[in-house]
């Protein structure tokens, strides 16, 4: 009943003329702009003898992409080129986020170090990297640092594991046989951990017994996949990159090749974003009240208990939301790949595919919608998380 009457008053308010007119005007204006653009687009297309629509996604692209996670060649379709670009974007974003988080946490903690030189160095790091334009950092890595690496014949070889030269970085490729058994093992471990967690909670509330879930989980996550792979007969083959002379030109074949464009992007994205994450981490740690630690101590918590149960959860509450925002920024910033020709969503699809097909409207629409979907998904997760961890105040 209450809801109904509230709805009625709001309806009444909206139907008042002074409120109705601006809203109707906005709707009218919005549709007029869309009509205006669509109409012009149609006329322009007709004048250029081009047909609109998304049919081109099924046709042969005819261009090659030098870095791809899935099979791709010139005879693949534009749709597949889109998929390659999307996967490359996600790949860069994944590694960027991974390294940015690690570096960011280290620098953030260093910012609070009592060691003067560490403290000042991390301050310089943060001020340096966050005040320089990202695209300048990408150019710097790509055009100066990675271009000054030795040539193929004089490659830097580090423990036969990492080979560095002008062509990029080479690392060994691990080829698993019967690899699905490892996945079974991991799935089984996760299930077991879930059950143990449930049991531990029960023991804690009913019998006041503490079970070291984390330590047990750590043990299991190593043990079970190992047992499973022994049972399933999993074997690992390591394929090392080899120096091959072809038509008088030296080249490394085999292994995994990380191209300079990819490296420059991952380096600059993670360094740039880590400066922002470091500031979040610092703020988060500072936000935990000193009294919280003292209260934990007075309750008889030992050092690791107070850190794990009191300090870190409260610091994370402050750290995680802005850091997720940084992850989102990193993913969007990975589109700067287009500036150095890394074939990501923007570089390969909005760059090469667009200039070949000339389908500017369709392609830019697809690319924008893809980034928008990623952004909205991440912010949905963030909102859900924020609600979950929000302080319940009475």
């Amino acid at each position: 009943m209450f809801l109904n009457s509230e709805f009625k008053t709001s309806l009444k308010k909206n139907l008042r003329l002074s409120n109705l007119v601006p809203q109707l005007l906005l709707i009218f204006f919005f549709f007029f702009v869309i009509y205006f653009f669509a109409n012009n687009a149609q006329l322009n297309m007709k004048a250029r003898n081009m047909n609109s629509g998304f049919d081109f996604l099924g046709t042969n692209s005819g261009f090659d992409i030098q870095f791809s996670l899935i099979d791709y060649d010139g005879s693949s379709s534009y749709g597949r080129a889109y998929l390659v670009g999307l996967l490359n974007t996600l790949l860069v974003a994944f590694f960027g986020i991974f390294f940015a988080t690690i570096i960011g946490f280290i620098i953030g903690v260093s910012r609070l170090s009592s060691n003067w030189i560490i403290n000042k160095l991390s301050l310089i790091y943060v001020e340096l990297f966050r005040n320089l334009p990202l695209i300048l950092q990408i150019f710097f890595w790509y055009f100066t640092v990675l271009r000054s690496l030795p040539s193929t014949e004089k490659s830097l070889i580090i423990f036969n594991f990492l080979i560095i030269n002008l062509q990029g970085f080479y690392i060994p490729k691990f080829i698993f046989t019967n690899s699905h058994y490892i996945i079974y093992g991991i799935a089984f471990t996760l299930l077991t951990i879930f059950l143990i967690k449930y049991y531990a909670k029960k023991m804690f509330y009913e019998h006041a017994k503490v079970i070291p879930v984390f330590k047990i989980s750590l043990l299991l996550i190593i043990l079970f996949p190992l047992i499973f792979s022994l049972i399933g007969g999993v074997s690992i083959n390591v394929e090392y990159p080899k120096l091959v002379k072809n038509f008088g030109i030296f080249n490394y074949l085999g292994g995994v090749k990380l191209i300079p464009e990819f490296l420059a992007l991952v380096f600059s994205l993670s360094l740039y974003t880590s400066a922002f994450i470091a500031e979040n981490v610092r703020a988060g740690i500072l936000a935990v009240n000193k009294g919280q630690k003292e209260a934990a101590k007075s309750l008889g918590f030992n050092n690791s208990q107070s850190l794990n149960l009191i300090v870190i959860p409260q610091a994370l509450r402050v750290i995680i939301p802005p850091t997720t925002n940084q992850y989102l920024n990193l993913t969007k910033n990975s589109s700067l790949a287009a500036a150095i020709g890394y074939p990501d969503l923007t570089g390969a699809f909005a760059g090469t595919a667009l200039s070949q097909t000339g389908k500017a409207i369709e392609i830019i629409f697809i690319v924008m919608m893809t980034y928008l979907t990623i952004s909205l998904l991440i912010s949905l997760i963030l909102n859900w998380y924020n609600k979950k961890i929000a302080l319940v105040e009475r």
């Binding site: 160095l121 340096l128 300048l136 055009f143 100066t144 287009a338 923007t346 690319v367």
Partner: protein, 350 residues
Amino acid sequence: MNKENIKSWLKINLFSNWYNSIISLFVLIVILLIIPSFLDWAIFKATFIGKTKADCKTGGACWVFISVWFEKFIYGFYPDKELWRVNLAFIILILSVLSAFFVKPKIKPYILFFLVFIFPIIGFILIHGGFGLENVETRVWGGLSLTFMLTFFGIIFAFPLGVLLALGKRSELPVIKYFCIAFVEFWRGIPLITVLFAAAIMFPLLLPANFNVDKLLRVAIGLGIFESAYVAEVIRGGLQSLPKGQYEAAKSLGMSYWKMNFLIILPQAIKTVIPGLTNTFIALFKDTPLIILVGLLELLGMVNLAKSNSYWLGMAVEGYIFVGLIFWFFSYLLSRYTQSLEKKFSTERH
């Protein structure tokens, strides 16, 4: 500081325990190894005077590259004999901004009015031409002056739009509210590059065939709209921080919606979010080099062009350091200024 003080300072700050000592020593050694060789390259062995790459023989940095290309880095391809127009525009801008620090508070709004409404017209006429001045096409604009022009345009375009969007997001009228929310979320959800591509490549297809909008203008408006979404989010934060009583007091005085917002709510809300706004504008400043992707050459673009000039190959490091210093200087200066403002406001409140 006497000897004892230095000793205790070192003990506390560098060598408080064994692992701190190891870290400090290690870092000090690394710094002592890097800094001298860098200074050697950048200053002691560097060449500052000359006209060609051949003048750089000492093995250090070749700052000749910067001095030879300096005019291009600042003005792009703007015609030589018309440069005074760009200079004049920037002198007017700098003088009017500086004067805001020295005049009485009463006059400040007039300076703001001048900057937002009158200066853009004067600046545009000066730099673009008209009223007896020779026309200079936007094609030849470039360099650092273009970076500043875009940043300035972005700010005066994004700020009012951002304010309106922020108000719209809190509107009681559902159509306006959800339109503003969708608008802001859309622009915040896509990368700037796609906006620039859309402005440069897609937008002409959406206009009537005989209706040409200058590419730089399209890109600048794209940049402005993109930034306005971020401005809106910052201002919304300020609006949320205001107590409800402010709205109620304004309404009880019989103020209209616009009067309430412009006289009571916004002045307070904007004041609290000045740091956030400056950060947004720093981000805008740092984002302008992206226009290189649609073929417009501001400072970074000009350096990129110069370093691939066949007479000046291998000058990338010097060029990027030059660009980095300029961008870093302005970003750092602004963020420092913001921090001092933040401190000033926080002491005022307590």
